[in-house]
């Protein structure tokens, strides 16, 4: 037993120090942030490069790389060069899960950007344990509203508005521009379509007949013709809303051409299903496309008067040689620009938590080509939260409907659709962000 008071104190202190040392020695040393060195930031993307989805979305990683190369050539992000590692998931959930896990565990990326697809990414998110490792999951390319759930996807940030928002905006635009006309809905029968149907319901819009729902890949020319023949008996000029992918829009428009019903209806194609280049490539006549109404949140990739579009097209010509500049390239470069701003906003001492907090607190003010506001906040993971109503012309260009740009803004829930006075931030000089 220790009788001396000083000795007792000394032994107590040494015991505390010893215990402390033991605890500290068992704790791992403060690990450096994965994927970040003094000269490099490693990012990863899992998306379809091959397969049917690869045909249209295969351009995304290349376009993002091109923008990052441009930034790297102009000093990088606080001196660090961005290295984007791209893996092909063929749009298959199993591959998305393994490729995303590879990106996190093998390639050691700092964050993921631009992951594509709902079924694929929801699996990948869990398989790669993104939440547990706090891996930022930036600007995903899906509009499924489930990804806005912060408890399920704590590190995910959307960029596309949700499909529910789009449906609400279309409902409002129909009410404002085509009062009294019969309305019909043709929608894909999956989470994409059901998100939309729910959105119309929230907006209080009732269609003149029950929605025509079809499983992905099942809309044949015969089925489209049968549906249009039935709708053709409606008096007036009914509005037909097409809430599906562009190939289905093409099938339906071609059926209308065959039945000489193109002018019988006002066509309203959702943003996912109105890629003009694809419609023309699939054989829809320019005269049919002329007048199709759609919704968009981005400027048109053909609009070279837009400074962002012009800048991205220049970057594409220089760093993405041989690839045609279109809406997919534009959207991918825009997400890359948002990524650079997020990395800058997190500061020189880059951490995963820092990036997430930077987007939550400063993301709403990031410069971007989008013509509608960004909705990031500590409580919201939604990117663009609105649409402008566009009309395609025979050349496939999207112009503001009625000649005037009207921006509608809303949320995925029960909130009203309002006309927004949003003016997007001026583009940083030469498209190189300098924010902090």
């Amino acid at each position: 037993m220790i009788r001396n008071k000083n000795m007792k104190r000394a032994s107590l202190v040494s015991a505390v120090i010893a215990t402390g040392a033991m605890v500290l020695s068992t704790l791992p040393a403060q690990a450096a942030t994965p994927g970040v060195t003094a000269s490099e930031i490693k990012l990863g993307i899992s998306s379809p490069l091959t397969g049917s989805a690869g045909l249209s979305y295969g351009k995304v990683p290349g376009a993002m790389k091109a923008y990052f190369s441009y930034i790297n050539a102009n000093g990088g992000v606080y001196g660090r060069k961005i290295n984007l590692i791209s893996r092909d998931d063929k749009y298959l959930p199993t591959l998305a899960a393994t490729q995303t896990t590879n990106l996190v565990l093998k390639d050691n990326v700092f964050a993921l950007v631009g992951a594509l697809g709902t079924a694929t990414h929801s699996k990948a998110y869990k398989a790669a344990a993104l939440a547990k490792n706090n891996v930022p999951d930036l600007f995903i390319n899906t509009g499924f509203s489930g990804f806005t759930d912060k408890t399920k996807y704590p590190t995910t940030f959307m960029v596309l508005p949700t499909y529910a928002m789009e449906a609400k905006v279309i409902a409002k635009a129909i009410k404002d521009n085509f009062p009294g006309q019969a309305t019909f809905l043709v929608a894909q029968d999956d989470e994409f379509g059901s998100d939309g149907v729910a959105g119309f319901k929230t907006a209080g819009h009732t269609f003149s007949a029950a929605p025509i729902l079809y499983p992905q890949g099942s809309m044949t020319a015969a089925r489209a013709e049968a549906a249009l023949t039935a709708l053709g008996a409606t008096p007036g000029k009914p509005v037909v809303v097409l809430f599906g992918t562009t190939d289905v829009t093409a099938t339906i428009l071609k059926a209308a051409e065959k039945l000489a019903l193109t002018t019988k209806f006002t066509w309203y194609a959702g943003s996912v299903g109105a890629d003009a280049n694809t419609l023309l490539a699939l054989g829809v006549k320019p005269t049919t496309i002329d007048g199709v109404i759609t919704a968009s949140f981005m400027p048109d990739a053909k609009d070279m008067t837009d400074p962002y579009v012009q800048q991205f097209a220049d970057i594409n010509a220089k760093y993405n040689k041989g690839i045609t500049f279109d809406n997919y390239v534009l959207a991918a470069m825009n997400s890359a620009m948002l990524t650079v701003q997020a990395l800058r906003a997190a500061g020189k001492d880059l951490t995963r938590a820092g990036v997430i907090s930077a987007i939550e607190n400063k993301g709403a003010n990031f410069a971007s080509a989008g013509l509608v506001p960004l909705g990031y906040s500590p409580t919201s993971r939604i990117g663009y939260n609105g649409y402008w109503v566009a009309q395609l012309n025979a050349k496939g260009e999207a112009k503001p409907y009625g000649g005037k740009l009207v921006i509608y803004s809303t949320d995925s829930g029960a909130g009203a659709v309002s006309v927004s006075t949003f003016v997007r931030p001026t583009m940083p000089k030469n498209g190189i962000p300098t924010n902090s």
Binding site: L49, T50, P61, G62, S86, D88, Y91, L92, P93, T94, A96, A97, T98, T101, N102, L105, K106, T118, A119, T120, S122, K123, A124, K126, A127, A129, K132, F144, G146, D189, D190, E191, F192, S194, P215, Q216, G217
Partner: protein, 325 residues
């Protein structure tokens, strides 16, 4: 006739192999554990093909559809009925087995290219059909969550190690069961059926019933591997079971050797390793994105040709032959 391994010896062998995996699992990283889980799952799926094609002589191109049936059954058991994941995996095997039994009864009169055609149609249509039923969660599918590893394993016990334990253990038990089955009279009658159905029938074997039995057991095995596969990706959806999966597994079975269970791990290893090898090859020699994406397919094709030319009965057979000399 080659000497049969006794059941006892086989059981000891499986237990020893299980121990090796257990020890190995503690010495490798999360990524290797995750890849190992896929190897175990694919090995099990290949077992189901070998049992069906190699032993009972029926050619199925729809193994991915049977895996999907098991996967959905397991997911519904866990997610909708709220039952324990072990019951979920058990149901995956059971429901797929019953489905295979019904399908087998319908297809009992079919053989060769007709059966292949029917199962091919199944592989194409079944996953898409899942989109039609809201309870199956459409394109997004339903969650298949086996939960976190038990707390008593400690904090360092990762999700991937847990996956590896479950998939390796389930596969070991199932392959052990099949290996035992094949060394009984069933195995012999299966082989008789494959080599000469008429002679088999003449010697009193009920060919129709035997075919259906083989189909049902094979479906059950495929169902379990389907359940394990979606466990690894935490959820089931139609696109997780593309037609290409059926063909990849069949390719794996050919590399393994259709008449031998010994190389199933090799088959699984090939399916998981080929993309990795392609990846590192490309990063070493450098190449375009198109090169990266086409190389795995090319390697698999080359391996298949080599396997058919040099080891038509699988490397397991080769080892045995070498041993005999």
């Amino acid at each position: 006739m080659s000497k049969q391994v006794s059941t006892k010896k086989r059981t000891l062998l499986f237990v020893a192999f299980g121990w090796v995996l257990l020890l190995l699992g503690d010495r490798v990283g999360d990524l290797e554990l995750y890849q190992g889980s896929f190897v175990a799952t694919y090995a099990l799926a290949i077992t189901s093909i070998i049992l069906l094609t190699g032993y009972s002589g029926q050619l199925s191109l729809g193994q991915s559809a049977l895996m999907a049936v098991g996967a959905y059954a397991g997911a519904l058991t866990i997610f909708n009925a709220g039952l324990h994941p072990i019951i979920g995996l058990f149901m995956a095997a059971l429901v797929a087995g019953v489905f295979g039994l019904i399908l087998g009864l319908i297809a009992a009169r079919l053989s060769g290219p007709y059966l292949a055609g029917t199962t091919l149609a199944l592989a194409i249509s079944l996953p898409t059909l899942a989109n039609q039923f809201p309870i199956l969660g459409a394109e997004e599918g339903i969650v298949f969550d086996v939960g976190l590893p038990p707390a008593r394993f400690g904090e360092d016990f990762s999700q991937y190690k847990w996956f590896f334990w479950i998939s390796a253990l389930a596969s070991l038990i199932m392959v052990w069961f099949i290996a035992n089955l094949l060394s009984t009279k069933y195995g012999r009658t299966f082989r008789a059926l494959r080599d000469n159905p008429i002679a088999a029938e003449l010697s009193g074997i009920n060919v129709g019933r035997l075919k259906v039995t083989a189909f049902a057991i094979s479906s059950g095995v495929a169902g379990l591997s389907g359940g394990l596969l979606v466990m690894l990706i935490s959820g089931v959806s139609p696109s997780a079971f593309p037609l290409s999966l059926s063909f990849a597994l069949l390719g794996g079975a050919v590399v393994t050797g259709l008449y031998n269970l010994k190389g199933v791990i090799l088959g699984g290893l090939v399916l998981v390793a080929i993309p990795e090898i392609a990846d590192s090859l490309v990063s070493r020699i450098g190449g375009s994105e198109g090169f990266i994406t086409t190389l795995p397919g090319f390697l698999v094709s080359a391996l298949l040709i080599l396997a058919v030319v040099f080891t038509p009965n699988g490397p397991g057979h080769l080892i045995k032959r070498h041993h005999k000399k």
